[in-house]
Each structure stands twice: as C-alpha cells, then as structure tokens.
C-alpha cells in the first residue's frame, strides 16, 4: 500500500485558532518530546535518524567483523577446528549478509539521510515519517536475519543463496526462512528510503540549486536511490519465490518438478550487480567531496563525474550474468555479458582520472579523511582491475568461486566502500557532533586498516589464482603447493592481517569514545569546506538553516568565502564561515515549523517482523502482525499533520507565530 504523507488539511486555517491544551486527538495526537528516549524513538528528524542509522550499522559492522575473524581463525591453518562445517557455512553467509545489507547499505543511508537535506539546503526530507519508518524497518529486518542464530541456526547457503541448495530439502533449518524474510523487510526500508530521497533531491533543493549545481555526494546518492528503486523489486520477487517454496510448498526451484535452478541466479544477480554499485557509489560520492576540500580545488570534471555515475548506474543493469560465466548460459550470452562488463570499466575509469586530476595542482592537506580518500583511489583501482580480469569470461572460468574473487570484492568493498565511509566519518564528524575526531588516532586507524587490509586480501589473489576455492570450511595441505607462494603460508598471513585490520577498526572505536568524552569543541568550518552543509551550526539546528540560502554556484559555500582577485588571479578569502553564519542568523526566517514526531512509523515497522515470525512458525501470529500493520496505517493517515501548538514549548525565536513548514 502506498503510504502518503499528508500535508495540512484543506482550508484549515494556517494558524490553528489558538488551540487549547485540552483539545487532543487521543491516540492520534503527535508526540512532541524533544529530549529523552522518546525524542529518538518517535523522531522524524532526518539528522537523528541518520545518527541512529549510523549506530545500528556500526553495531552490525562489528558483528560482521567478528564473523569474519572467526572465518579467518578457521582458515589460518589446514584442517581448521574452530568451527564445524555447518557453523562455518552459516558464518560466511551471515558475514556477507551482515556486511552488505546491515552495514554498508545502512551506513550509506545514514550519510544520505543526514547530509542530503543539508547539502541541498532543505530543512528535512520530503517524507519525514516514511524516513523514520524506513529506519525502524531496517532494525526489524536486521533483528529477524540475526535471530536465526538463536533459533536453530542461521542461513547456510552463501550470500547469493543459490537454489536448489537453499530449498527446503537441502537447507532444512529455519535459517534461510529468517534470511529471506529479514531481507524482504530490509528491502522495504530501502525502497521507501529510495522514493523519499529521490523526491527530496528533486523537490526540496534550495532556490538556485539546479541539478548541475548539486554536490556530487547528493548526485551519486541520487543514482544509488534509483538503483535501489528498480533493483529491490527484483530481489523481492526472488525472495518471495524462495519463501513460497520453503513455506507454502511452491515448486519454483524444485528440479524434480521441472524447475530451472538458473531462474534464481538470474533474479538474484539482476538485483545483485546493481547492488554492488549501491554499495560503492555513496563512497565515491563521499570522496568526491573530501578530495576537493583537501585539495582546495573544485572536483575536476564535475559533469563527467556526474554523468559517469549515471552511466555506471545504467550500464550496471546489463552485466548481471558475469556472475554466471560458469553456469552454462551458452556462448552467446556469455560473450554479450562479457563485453558489457568490460564497458563498465570505462565510466569507472573516468572517476579515477577525475580524482587524480583533482589532486593534481592542488594544495593537499593530509588529514585522516584525505588519507582514506586517497587510499580508496588506490585500493579500489586494484579491485577494479581484478574485476576487469573477471570480465574476460574464459579467464573467469578459472577464477570464479576461488579466493581470487574474494580478493576482488574485498578490495572494492573494503578498499572502496568502507574506506569511503571512513573518509566520511572523519570528514563529517565535526558537522554531526560538533567535535573533531582525533587526527593522530585517525591516521593510525588508517595505517592499521591499510596494512591489515592488504595483508588480509592481497594474498587472496595468489591463493585464488593457485586454485583455492572459496566457501571451504577446511583446506588441505595436500593441495597447498610449496615454495614462496604456497597457499598455507599466505592463508596464515591473511589471518594475521585480519587481526591487524580489526585492530585498526578498534582504533576508530577508541577514537569515537575519546572524542565523545572530550570537551573540545570543533571549529565551525574545520576543513575550509565547500558545500552547503557547512553553512550552518555544528551540529545543525533542528531546522538546519536559519535562512535557506540561495545558491549561485557549484560549491556555493566556498564561493561565499573566497573570491578571485581580478588582477592577480589569486584566490582571496573574503569571509569566514562565522561571518556567513552570522549573516544567516541575522536574516533568519521567522516562522519555521518542523514536522512533528510520530508514533506510527515504529508501530508500522514493528508489525513486519511479527508477520515474518508468523510465516515461519504459525500463521495466526502473522495475522496479528498484519493487523498491527493495518492499524498503524490508519493511525498514520489519520493523525494530524502537526501537533497542536499548545503542545510545544515556546519557540526559541521568541516570536509566537508559527508557520507550517511545507513538510508532511
């Protein structure tokens, strides 16, 4: 059912005629708490939701990371004894599921939520309640996916869950049910989030901000949201088919009924390949903000970066079968998809060139964020180039399902996606919390991660090319070879590297902890930044901007601070961030009314896991869940679009009047 945020009632007076405190809507009243746990649980503020997304994602990063460490412990030596075959298979399945769906995607959503409205000069997203709903839905999905650990074992089919191995006969525990239904739920979060953010970007830009004046991060996130919008329904179909087979006896992947197992593979990868760009493009966006700031230069070739981003998004739809080169598609399909896959290196190469050229001729400051950004360029290139070697289909038949693939995708995912996210942490921390992460610790964090990551995933290239398949709970010395390149030695190196890497991540957590405790306040514009999000206080006020800025330039903020001397052509600072903020405060919009919190998003989201549990265990429970959903939907559509005035504390501006912000 479409969920529609409702604006103010038709014809209702803009100022509800001095409502008395006794006038309530009963259960349909909107909550108004601005402090305490209620202010978080019922919030619809994109910044609070962004932070909550971040916290949840970080939690799952540690979960996924510990799973990875257990994997590496098991594989450090031949015939590992740490995990049984059964548990090992669950471990890598859940490691990947957790990292992909519960860490990178939500973390990217965290940044999108927090920074898109700020970067485009908006006060919130287009549908704040849907935003809150998306977050709680993600939490529900994450819980369902992981609950299986405690209820008879997690999913054990690998993260792409090929049928028929994931079917009811071959994976008899409930793990796959939890997995499929949990991901179905997180899919709802992604889909609603995508719609919300696309509308936000298209409709809520500050005056003057044409699409080609939008910050690159926002642009690439827009591409990501389109990818999600169209990719999520495909995995939805696949997951439904799987669930219906497992829970209702459908025959979709039952070979004895004549099913074709390749059906699942196609559906999964039609989703799966766009998905990998969903994982990487937000990080590309982040470093496209970080590199210019610390180079004191605009992004080189902004339109090329934007269009190549869109091109990646588009071509990404035509390459899915490169994951199936060994599946027996027949030479024609293989050839077509092989060539198409090569094509995708071209727009990606454009980005690498642009980043490098952004550095070129700049005035580079090597902050922690900059370290991660430069690290991304290098590490992603390694991963991208191994990707190109996969795209050569005949070679890929030697590589697929070996550790060489594992090396590829950890370079692009860890060296790419995660380095980008870390660049984002260091770059935007002062904005989000008003405090700066420690730079020295940050650089140590970087170096441990770089060294650890190369030690962990670098050797996997060799291990893989020498023929060690992936997803093996044990490997044998009999096939490890001898000499410098023997698989045994490098497996050990990889395992040691993983712990160095983990230590690097630990340094980040320590950094966060220390920063939170410290009293030191960050300067308003610590990096001499270029985009709108820095044109407000840190952390931003609830309404983001006192006055919505009018945009004249790409990198508006920078151009307000600097001007070119017409004679010497030198850039001269003409204003500081403080000046600009002061001016904004002086011209503050008087009547700012933010959307009220709401009870319904979390209630609605809470119904979904109940349905999932019901499908697995007992249909009546599912009906209860559905009832919660329906009730919540009615509550949602009937609650007033804002809390009555009397429920608010007097506005800080001292001006008693309020205007309905044009927000749902």
């Amino acid at each position: 059912m479409a969920i529609i945020e409702q604006p103010a009632p038709v014809g209702a007076p803009a100022l509800p005629a001095a409502p008395t405190p006794t006038r309530t809507y009963g259960a349909l009243r909107r909550p108004v708490a601005t402090t305490g746990w209620k202010s978080w649980v019922f919030t619809v503020d994109h910044k609070k939701l962004g932070i909550m997304y971040g916290v949840v994602a970080m939690f799952f990063f540690i979960v996924g990371g510990i799973e990875a460490l257990l994997i590496r412990l098991q594989l450090a030596a031949p015939n590992g004894k740490v995990l049984s075959a059964d548990v090992y298979n669950q471990m890598f399945t859940m490691h990947a599921t957790t990292m992909v769906f519960l860490f990178v995607m939500p973390m990217a959503a965290a940044f999108a939520n927090y920074f898109i409205p700020l970067q485009i000069g908006a006060r919130d997203v287009a549908f704040p309640r849907i935003n809150a709903f998306g977050f709680w839905t993600l939490v529900g999905g994450g819980i369902i996916v992981n609950l299986s650990w405690f209820l008879g074992g997690a999913a054990d089919g690998g993260w792409f869950m090929y049928a028929p191995n994931s079917g009811p006969v071959f994976s008899p525990s409930h793990g796959v049910d939890f997995w499929a239904l949990g991901l179905q739920i997180t899919g709802i979060a992604s889909l609603t989030g995508a719609i919300n953010l696309i509308v936000t970007v298209l409709n809520m830009r500050a005056p003057g901000m044409s699409l080609m004046k939008m910050p690159v991060f926002t642009w690439l996130q827009l591409v990501v949201q389109f990818l999600l919008l169209f990719a999520i329904p495909v995995i939805t179909v696949a997951l439904f088919l799987l669930s219906f087979q497992r829970n209702f006896g459908a025959t979709f992947f039952d070979v004895s009924a004549g099913a074709d197992p390749l059906l699942w593979q196609h559906l999964f990868w039609i989703f799966g390949h766009p998905e990998v760009y969903v994982l990487i493009l937000p990080s590309f966006g982040i470093i496209s903000e970080v590199l210019p700031v610390f180079s004191k230069k605009p992004l080189f070739g902004y339109p090329f970066v934007v269009f190549s981003g869109a091109a990646i998004g588009f071509v990404g739809w035509g390459v899915w079968a490169h994951h199936m080169f060994a599946s027996g598609l027949g030479p024609v399909s293989v050839a077509v998809f092989s060539i198409a896959t090569m094509a995708i290196a071209i727009p990606t190469g454009v980005k690498i060139v642009n980043w490098t050229m952004t550095l070129w001729g700049g005035k580079l400051r090597f902050t922690a964020a900059m370290h991660f950004a430069v690290g991304l360029i290098v590490l992603f290139t390694i991963g991208g180039l191994s990707g190109v070697t996969h795209s050569v289909a005949p070679s890929d038949t030697q590589q697929t399902d070996t550790y060489y693939i594992v090396a590829h995708f950890h370079y692009v995912l860890f060296g790419g996606a995660i380095f980008g996210l870390f660049a984002g942490f260091y770059y935007w921390w002062p904005k989000m919390f008003g405090k700066q992460l420690n730079e020295r610790l940050g650089k140590a964090n970087f170096w441990f991660m770089v060294i650890g990551m190369n030690l962990t995933f670098g050797p996997m290239h060799m291990i893989g090319l020498q023929g060690q398949p992936r997803r093996m709970y044990v490997w044998t010395e009999a096939r490890a070879g001898e000499g410098f390149f023997n698989i045994a030695f490098w497996n050990m190196v990889a395992s040691i590297g993983a712990f160095i890497l983990a230590f690097g991540v630990l340094l980040f957590l320590i950094n966060v902890f220390k920063t939170t405790r410290s009293k030191e306040v960050a300067p308003l514009d610590p990096w001499d930044a270029r985009t709108l999000e820095w044109m407000t206080t840190s952390p931003p006020k609830e309404h983001n901007f006192d006055a919505i800025p009018t945009v004249h330039h790409l990198d508006e903020f920078f151009h307000r601070k600097y001007e070119q001397d017409p004679n010497t052509h030198e850039m001269k600072q003409v204003a500081t961030a403080e000046d600009i903020l002061r001016e904004q405060e002086a011209n503050a919009d008087k009547h700012i009314h933010m959307p009220s919190p709401s009870y319904w998003p979390i209630v609605l989201a809470g119904g979904l896991p109940v349905i999932a549990l019901g499908i697995i265990y007992s249909i009546p429970v599912a009906i209860v869940g559905a009832a919660i959903v329906v009730l919540a939907l009615f509550g949602w559509s009937l609650e007033p679009s804002t809390a009555p005035d009397s429920d608010f504390d007097p506005p800080a501006s001292g001006d008693g009047t309020k205007e309905l912000a044009p927000l749902g």
Binding site: I4, A194, V199, L202, P233, F244, T251, K658, E659, P662
Partner: protein, 200 residues
C-alpha cells in the same frame, strides 16, 4: 505569510520542480512496481509450459469468464477517473459515489478471481501441483492482492471523505489512489493477454 505557505502545501507547488511530493513519490513507486510484476510475469513465462502431471493452461482457463472480469476491471478505471474528476471539482458526493462504484467493480473482479481459482483447483491445478500452478497463482495472486489493497484504500477514502476528515488535499489523495488503481488495471491488461489469450 503563513497563509501562503499552507496554500502552497495544499497544491504542492512549494517544491523545486513545482510538482507535488506525493505524486512524484507515487510515480516512482509505480516505476518500481514495473520491475516487480516484470519479474513475476517473466517467471510465469518460463514456467507456463512446465505442467508435470497437472493440467495445462489451456485446460483450466475459462476465457469467456475471465474476459468478463477483465472488462469489469477495465471499466473500473473509467469510474475511477470520474471520481478524480469529481474530486477536482470539489464535488464530494460525486467523488464518494464514483469511488464506491470503483471499489465495487474491483470487488467484483476479486470475487471473480476467487471463483476462478476455486474452479481451477477443482480441475486439479493446486498451488503445488506444478510449476505452472505455482507461477500462475503467484502472479495472479500478487495482482489480486494489489487490487484488494486498492479496494481497501478506496473504501477508506470514502469513509474519510464522508466524515470530511481528509488531511491534506482531497483531490490529490483521490488522484493518487487513482494512479495506483489504473496501474493495477494496466498490469491486468498485460496479464490478460500474455497469460490468458496467448496459450503456452
């Protein structure tokens, strides 16, 4: 000042593109739904001939019957568009009338589908009988659920309008439900041809 803000909110013109957030969101959702139904239809296309021991599509389809119910659904699009037109004229009575008719036509369609399913089941095509059965019921079932959700939205809207309680722009809400309803109709246009009229 405050007045204009509300006025703008009402017509959804305060946005960068001048388009309503809600309507943009609905179209995005419908774009996304194309990939959902595309997947289900494609799955059916691959599996429609895989009938195992069970009946073949040609054996269980009752084309005249389905033609009638398709026609009913098609005509509900007309009544829906009349409801939207009425809502835009701020004609509450007309709106509720046409919404009700649309809902009833939709309910007729769903009823017909239930009858059809029962008949097919009795002819030996269960959900688990064959790939054809699984794919057929999943595809048409998904469509049926969409219609049902639409019916619930229509009748809820009628109830809410009757209590003149619609938060926001009434005409827009009716229009949005209308978009959804028409979409469900065009999906059936495709299903009717690809699934029923073109035999495996």
């Amino acid at each position: 000042m405050a007045d204009t803000a509300v006025h703008h909110a009402e017509h959804g013109h305060h946005t960068s593109t001048g388009l309503s957030n809600n309507k943009l969101g609905m179209w995005l959702f419908l774009g996304s739904e194309c990939l959902l139904f595309g997947g289900l239809i494609s799955t059916y296309m691959i599996y429609r001939g895989r009938v195992g021991e069970g009946p073949r599509p040609g054996n269980v389809f009752d084309i005249p019957f389905t033609s009638v119910s398709s026609f009913v659904l098609l005509m509900s699009s007309l009544t829906m568009v009349l409801a939207v037109a009425a809502a835009q004229k701020r004609d509450d009575r007309g709106t509720t009338l046409w919404l009700t008719v649309t809902g009833l036509l939709g309910a007729t369609f769903v009823g017909g589908q239930m009858y059809e399913f029962t008949a097919m089941y009795n002819e030996g095509l269960g959900y688990t009988t064959s790939l054809f059965g699984s794919a057929f019921y999943t595809l048409t079932g998904f469509h049926g659920v969409h219609v049902t959700v639409g019916i619930i939205m229509l009748f809820s809207l009628v109830a809410i309008i009757k209590r003149s309680n619609v938060p926001g722009d009434k005409a827009e809400v009716v229009e949005l439900v209308g978009l959804y309803w028409h979409f469900v109709d065009i999906v059936w246009i495709i299903i009717f041809t690809l699934v029923y009229l073109i035999p495996a």
